[in-house]
Amino acid sequence: MTAKKLHLQQLTLVNFKNYVEAELSFSPQVNCFVGNNGEGKTNLLDAIYYLSFCKSYFNPIDSQNIRHNEAFLLIQGNFEKGEQHEKIHCGIKRGQKKQFRRNKKEYTRLADHIGLLPLVMVSPADINLVYEGSEVRRKFIDGVVSQFNKAYLDDLLQYIRVLSHRNALLKQFAQQRMFDATSLELWDMQLDEFGSRIYQHRKAFLNDFIPLFREHYTKLSEGREVPDLEYQSKLAGASLLELLEQAREKDRVVQYTTVGIHKDDLVFRLGDYPIKKFGSQGQQKSYLIALKLAQYDYIRQQKETTPLLLLDDIFDKLDAHRVKALMNRVSSGSFGQIFITDTDRERLDRLFADIDIDCRIFNIVEGQAQHQTAENHGA
């Protein structure tokens, strides 16, 4: 399969987080940001993430990404996608609407931009997927699927709206001490319509996704552990309409809707045991990396474009075997452009020493990025 190559050639920042001004030119293959804690390595990844998703990976409040005591921030990126140049401009002023331009043309809907520059971020914050509630895991599925399927996103938004109506109705029944089956059925039918479609899409996605995930985990762990990923939904056993009918008495008592695709979950296991309770930190990390790499493959297949891969602090907690297994994949060229952060310069040098690949290293010190005129690349 020939996927279009996507890469970021140049990144310009003004007043983004701890950067006053920065201009970086990247290698189309591997780029490393090296520095101590708090110098601004991850902020560079976040800036790239911004250009793809119109928002920060870490902080959803735009104005808080502006450098302290400044009025605005600017992020600009020159991308090359296949043969095409894409110049993306993001400007945020305190108290004003965020500006987002593609090739000097402003977007009317930010949602139109998402998906143009596919990107996968692997970050220590992913651990939320293991420890937090099921909502985070549903968001993971929804985030991937809705990038390719606008109808899915629409169904999801409609479903949420119907759900709010139904829950409001259940509350009113309780307050007014009455019950009207016909009114409730109106919403049940619509939940069933949107919910069944969402369930089918999620199931189809996971059918494609789970084998990809298994393959990645097996490679990372060199086959020592058998990972399992399971999509749990009550809709697997019965239609949502039936489920709603069965749950009606319970819903009336608790005054909200207790069944539906808003209760779906993903179960992460190693062997027969949930990794939340029984996985080591390294195993959990491997699991999450495999999950993200599977996402990478899936997006590449669907978009026919190689996504950017951002690896934030991933070598920490992984044993030497797993790091090597990962780097083998990097060197095999199965990824497009990669951005890596690490605190340990020597580790990076060691990792890339015997890999023949164009690698640029940037030293990050207090919001200044300095390109190392390094061993295997001229400035």
Binding site: V162, S164, H165, A168, L169, Q172, L186, W187, M189
Partner: protein, 205 residues
Amino acid sequence: MDLPSSLLDQAVEQFASLPGIGRKTALRLALHLLKQSPEEVSAFGNAFIRMRNEVQFCSRCHNLCETELCSICRNPKREVALLCVVEDMRDIIAVENTQQFKGFYHVLGGVISPMDGVGPNDLQIESLVNRVAEGEIKEVILALSTTMEGDTTNFYLYKKLAPFEVNITTIARGVAIGDELEYTDEVTLGRSILHRTPYEATLSR
């Protein structure tokens, strides 16, 4: 904003209580009234008082009127067999302006929306069912908003009216006249393709 007169202050407060009016605009309006003659201002004020006290709702269709029945319901030339169901009286004005409809109306007073605390009992649904039950109406045209709440209400009415021998239709939804396809949103265009109409039927009109 400290005003030199408490009377002025009260007037400003009242204006500012209207939707879309802030205190500055309210002050400008109040000062404008102060420049008018007392007679003019009395006429202005009385218009609101009379409106509030004397406007009634039509006992049949719940449109605004000043007598027992509204001017449309009193009109003997209109077709009894056709009934158009709308959300509120503004929609009657809109449909009337098209000059394409010669039947009667029924104003629901809103659509079913539990999130806003509106249920079937808050709407004029029972009176609609009673009108249909009288048997003279042959077609009920549902002309509600094309939102989820509007559609839900449509379906509720459809169920409520199912026992009667009456044709239930909804207004057509699709590409607006004079619009270019490329600027039409996907959902509307998709719907228009699904619910396409035979070309010949469009010729006869």
